[in-house]
């Protein structure tokens, strides 16, 4: 019971360079600012780039023509692409740039980063306010571990399915890849997302600090229903218990109908094998369900007639309610949204057009509508949704807006296809209680001050 519930408790706030958590070990204290980067570049003389090119790239004939694959393997292989500010010329039209490389790197002007709490049983937060569209880059997908990152040799990976089945079976990773694989885009959100904003709100919280424990992208893997056909389910199987191969052997129970519906044993994300922090080489994916149940490093599934009542579905990941009970197996994520721009630490300019934009999602299908208020919830405007709106996926919304320079409050309110409406903070508190612990789905607010500074609305 060493592991405390750090998800959402650590209020990572990269915007002001601090990271406060009961469990924070090593706060990340420095962020490279864009302004600082630009200043550094301005001080750099152009032409430095050529000095950094590999010799063979500078000499004609040293490399195959562009677009033509080399007939022999070059040696040594070029380094992974990494661009530094010192190499940015004053005028990139006056000298050739760096050659091709093995791995793509970001522009040195763009430095998005997760905000890690920095302990083995903790989280790192996706920088939502630095992302566009709906797909989370793989290296920015949030983390939530319960005993660190399990590092697994794919050659040794095995998935055991047993219990109420006809044929208890062990699948290798190769087995999983040989079976029919399908792809789908969906979000994955920790149900502790928003805890810091709810329990210890601060005006200086960014979207990353508030709701950075959600990510979205394309998952590929074997439908669990395919594996169920391989093993043959016996009568009476109503739950399946999934266990991870990490040092906490994290375990959760899931109703078997979810397993037969859209559950997947995912082996890839955004076109490449899963990253270790997100479950390499294979994890359970339960679209629309709370992240914790999507067991990473999945090694065992047991079909059973009851839930296991594991630590993370009893003492954790249950929702104490205002009525003196605690909700259990609250697996489906509620309808939710957050404006990611303008948001702290942005600063607005008055009387010019800007765009209010953010993401909305629900564990119950598609987002039907997102309303945006620019007057603290007194009135609402229907925002544009980016098509195609995908079920159980982040949905981008946007609204052109001209700020008049007066103090105001921005809000977004998601409505999903079941008619569920994102509640106000007051409605949320009344139903769930001030002491509730998960599924913090209430409306997020941003206060725009007269000087253009934007702050999280901590009690709006």
């Amino acid at each position: 019971m060493h592991e405390d519930e750090t998800a959402g408790q650590g209020t990572a706030d990269p915007s002001n360079g601090t990271l406060a958590s009961d469990n924070a070990a090593e706060p990340r204290t420095e962020r490279v600012t864009r302004r600082g980067l630009i200043a550094a570049v301005a001080a750099t003389a152009g032409g430095a780039i050529l000095a950094r090119l590999p010799a063979e790239a500078q000499s004609p004939g040293g490399r195959a023509a562009p677009g033509v694959p080399p007939t022999q393997a070059p040696s040594p292989p070029p380094p992974a692409g990494a661009f530094d500010l010192a190499s940015v010329p004053a005028d990139p039209t006056r000298a050739p740039g760096p050659p091709t490389s093995t791995l793509g790197a970001r522009s040195p002007f763009e430095t998005p980063a997760r905000a890690p709490v920095g302990v083995i049983s903790g989280s790192s937060y996706t920088p939502l306010h630095e992302l566009s569209g709906t797909v989370t880059p793989s290296d920015l997908v949030f983390e939530r571990h319960h005993a660190g990152v399990a590092l697994i040799d794919p050659a040794k990976y095995e998935l055991l399915i047993h219990g109420l089945v006809e044929r208890p079976t062990v699948f290798t990773l190769d087995d999983l890849r040989r079976l029919p694989n399908v792809s789908r885009t969906c979000f994955l959100e920790c149900s502790g997302n928003g805890r810091g904003a709810f329990k210890t709100p601060k005006r200086e919280m960014s979207p990353q600090a508030i709701d950075g424990l959600t990510s979205n992208g394309e998952w590929t893997g074997v439908p669990l229903a395919v594996l169920v056909q391989e093993v043959g389910v016996r009568r009476g199987a109503s739950w399946f218990r999934a266990e991870g191969g990490d040092a906490s052997r994290l375990s959760r129970s899931v109703p078997v109908e979810k397993g037969l519906d859209d559950a997947m044993i995912a082996v890839a994300f955004n076109g490449e094998p899963l990253r270790p922090a997100n479950g390499y080489p294979a994890r359970l994916l339960l679209p629309g369900y709370e992240g914790n149940a999507n067991i990473k490093w999945l090694r065992r599934i047991e079909l059973a007639d009851s839930p296991g009542m594991f630590r993370d579905e009893t003492s954790k990941y249950t929702d104490p309610l205002a009525n003196g009970t605690a909700r259990q197996f609250s697996l489906v994520m509620d309808a939710k949204s957050i404006i990611t721009a303008p948001a702290h630490p942005a600063r607005l300019t008055p009387n010019v057009w800007t765009q209010i934009t953010g993401i909305a999602w629900t564990g119950r299908g598609k987002i039907e509508r997102v309303d945006v208020s620019t007057d603290g919830g007194a009135s609402w405007v229907v925002a544009d949704l980016q098509e195609p709106v995908m079920s159980l996926a982040h949905t981008r919304f946007r609204l052109p807006w001209k700020w008049d320079g007066k103090r105001t409050v921005l809000m977004s309110r998601a409505v999903d296809e079941t008619g569920a409406v994102q509640p106000t903070l007051a409605e949320f508190r009344a139903k769930r209680g001030a002491g509730t612990d998960y599924h913090f789905s209430y409306i997020r607010a941003w206060i725009v001050e007269p000087d253009g500074a934007v702050f999280f609305g901590t009690d709006v």
């Binding site: 005993a147 062990v170 229903a225 003492s315 104490p320 605690a326 079941t418």
Partner: protein, 224 residues
């Protein structure tokens, strides 16, 4: 889960097995192609994909030994509880040696600095509030084994699989029984002289046992 629901699920699985792939998880693949063939939209030498088998026969049969090596689940019905036993007194010794450095000598929570990279260890012992279950109303309440955990079997399961955090899986079954006995006694749930084994552990009723309710959220306009 109701008997009717279970029967329905079993029926669903069986019907999928009997009907083959056209009703199984890959149904849309076959249906869409056959639709195109039927509509005459494909050239004459392009055919619908042949039916895939209900079973691909992938994977190897798991042996009882393989299952036993990995299946450490302990559930409220006592499934998985191993032979062995322990008392609170024995558990006090194990706890002092292997748990107290983080959880405190009496299970009161992190006392000294935790090991590098390890978060502060939570409080394990405490029965307050004795009346009601006001965790949803009062954000200051601290959940413990004594006031919040609904099943004693979960304590055994979790300690055995995940504790101590720096050496999970290192406790013997007797040590796990003893630590669980110590924690339950510290929480005034079992007697200081009690002995825990597979029979007595299952019989323990935790104070919070009846406080948990099923998820009643269903979407729609009513926020729950």
């Amino acid at each position: 889960m109701s008997a009717a629901r279970t029967r329905w699920l079993a029926g669903l699985v069986v019907s999928a097995l009997l009907a083959g792939c056209d009703r199984g998880p890959l149904a849309d693949r076959a249906t869409r192609t056959q639709h195109a063939v039927g509509a005459g939209r494909l050239p004459s030498n392009v055919h619908a994909a042949p039916a895939v088998p209900v079973r691909f026969g992938v994977g190897h049969g798991a042996t009882a030994a393989e299952i036993a090596a990995w299946d450490v689940d302990v559930t409220p019905d006592g499934h998985g509880l191993p032979p062995g036993s322990g008392t609170p007194t024995q558990g006090a010794g194990v706890f002092a040696a292997k748990c107290a450095a983080c959880h405190g000598p009496a299970g009161e929570g992190q006392v000294g600095p935790p090991p590098a990279g390890v978060p502060a260890a939570p409080k394990l012992v405490g029965r307050d509030p004795r009346d009601g279950f006001p965790f949803g109303q009062d954000p200051k309440l601290v959940k413990t084994v004594g006031n919040y955990w609904p099943y004693a079997t979960t304590v055994f399961d979790y300690v055995r699989r995940a504790m101590p955090v720096t050496a999970p899986g290192s406790l013997t079954n007797n040590e796990v029984y003893a630590v669980v006995a110590f924690l339950l006694a510290q929480n005034e749930i079992i007697d200081k002289n009690a002995m825990l084994d597979s029979a007595t552990l299952v019989a323990v009723k935790m104070p919070a046992r009846d406080k948990f309710v099923a998820d009643d959220r269903k979407g729609g306009a009513t926020f729950r």
